[in-house]
């Protein structure tokens, strides 16, 4: 898949949208050109600030999840006894939709950034934890033996084997979680807050019946998800070039 193909696909979606807007001819579906106009005028005003707040919340959650889940996953893989203890706990808590804890999290952490970051973090943490643990457990014993024979102890194994071996899995789990993370963020931002794209779309523009601005907010939210997706792709190409070697 080349950049040109992606651009063409984006163009095709815009064309379909434009045609649909023309046929429907109703206020509730403004044409992409109108929405683009709203986006350009709203960005320097409030939309830009809401975008920045949402981006900060989701990026902070992802960073926090990677920083805590990676070492935890590696530790579970290294210490079978700990894994035996935690595996059933993870099994039980993994399928629980973490978003239902939002009211409780707000009670504990308040209505500021912390509660939103924490809820997204909860979702990502378990996904990354499980994937890092399983990936680390799947490393072949032969690879560990041969690197140990070169003088590696536990720390060097972590640096030269475990971290690079689990990196692609971490990136994949983030890529798969971006959609969920942005969706959860959207929901969390419609809840007792006055900032973020979720607030902008649902509370600010939707309730004012400002449809072009509302659509501009939806586009901004989609762009946020897409940008994160592109960043993960970029990181994968930079950090794991061997996956792309032919």
């Amino acid at each position: 898949m080349r950049n040109r193909d992606i651009l063409l696909a984006a163009l095709a979606i815009l064309v379909v949208w434009e045609i649909a807007a023309l046929i429907l001819h109703r206020e509730i579906l403004p044409a992409p050109t109108v929405v683009l106009g709203a986006l350009v005028t709203q960005l320097p005003r409030s939309l830009g600030a809401h975008f920045a707040v949402s981006a900060w919340r989701v990026i902070a959650s992802i960073a926090l999840a990677i920083l805590l889940a990676t070492p935890a996953g590696l530790a579970l893989a290294q210490y079978p006894r700990a894994n035996r203890f935690f595996a059933p706990v993870i099994y039980l808590t993994y399928p629980i939709p973490k978003i239902v804890f939002l009211p409780i999290v707000i009670l504990f952490l308040g209505i500021g950034d912390a509660s939103k970051i924490f809820v997204i973090f909860l979702i990502l943490f378990f996904q990354i934890l499980v994937i890092v643990r399983d990936q680390a457990l799947a490393i072949r014993a032969e690879l560990i033996y041969s690197v140990r024979s070169l003088g590696a102890g536990r720390r060097a194994l972590l640096r030269f084997v475990y971290l690079p071996a689990t990196l692609p899995a971490v990136l994949t789990s983030i890529r798969l979680s971006i959609g969920t993370a942005v969706a959860v963020l959207f929901f969390a931002e419609t809840f007792a807050t006055t900032s973020g794209l979720g607030y902008y779309v649902v509370t600010d523009t939707f309730q004012r019946i400002a449809f072009p601005e509302m659509y501009a907010g939806i586009v901004a939210m989609s762009v946020l998800g897409l940008l994160l997706y592109f960043v993960v792709d970029f990181l994968e190409r930079k950090l794991c070039p061997y996956l792309f070697a032919k």
Partner: protein, 250 residues
């Protein structure tokens, strides 16, 4: 050089030991083949020598140091059949891995000239920027051997390193191994399930039948090994026949 005295080793959860008061000595500069069927404990023997597994009883020293050799990290080289190279590292990064590990522990900067020397010597210089998946099986094993030689091991342990290769490549690498051993005089233990390979390479051959392995170890002298022509001589075929009979009796 390798001194194994009455070691006993049982895999966790099993009742019969794999090695039961087993004793075996390898002198400095010797080239040994270890011959046995799959699952007889050949690889485990190497794992015990390299120190990734520990014996339940008995003493095991390499160069008079007890195993695992903490003071001299990375002096026992291990080359495996496959899966030994880091898939995410280029050939050069793999070959210099031992040096990077030493630097990681602050044990001086490694000798990068050795990396270039072995890459060149093994015909890998042109492939230095490739990843293992982009190499042929033979090139991968050359890289694995180069990586081990860079750390200047005093003992080289090879665990069926060529068994997944096609015949011409295998014979090519067997010859390379013989030449290297003649040049560097590194004490070498070569584990294989192939009778021909064991006879071609090892001046001495340790035969491992069905476990448990006890003392005295069954050892066959093989003075003809060490020359490329040996493979075509009648003595080679005769020696292979002797070993085949011995293995059957085990």
């Amino acid at each position: 050089m390798i001194d194994i005295r009455e070691i006993t080793f049982t895999y966790p959860g099993q009742t019969t030991p794999l090695f039961d008061a087993f004793t075996w000595r390898v002198a400095r500069g010797e080239f040994w083949s270890v011959l046995g069927a799959s699952g007889c404990g050949k690889s485990t023997l190497l794992h015990l020598i390299v120190g990734v597994r520990a014996a339940n009883r008995g003493a095991l020293t390499v160069n008079a140091e007890s195993v695992p050799r903490k003071k001299n990290r990375g002096k026992t080289g291990l080359v495996l059949q496959d899966y030994g190279l880091l898939p995410w590292a280029t050939v050069r990064e793999n070959v210099e891995l031992g040096l990077r590990i030493r630097e990681f522990y602050g044990q001086g900067d490694g000798n990068r000239a050795a990396v270039e020397f072995w890459l060149e010597r093994f015909g890998l210089a042109a492939h230095a920027k490739k990843y293992p998946a982009q190499l042929s099986g033979g090139q991968r094993q050359r890289a694995a051997i180069a990586r081990t030689l860079v750390i200047e091991p005093d003992v080289l342990l090879m665990d069926e390193p060529f068994s997944a290769l096609d015949a011409p490549t295998r014979e090519d690498l067997e010859m390379l191994t013989l030449n290297l051993q003649a040049e560097t005089q590194t004490t070498t233990v070569f584990v294989t399930h192939s009778i021909e390979e064991a006879v071609f390479l090892g001046r001495k051959i340790l035969i491992l039948g069905s476990p448990p392995h006890r003392s005295p170890a069954r050892v066959v002298d093989n003075p003809g090994a060490g020359r490329g022509e040996y493979r075509n001589e009648p003595a080679f075929a005769a020696q292979a026949r002797v070993l085949r009979e011995l293995l059957k009796r085990e």
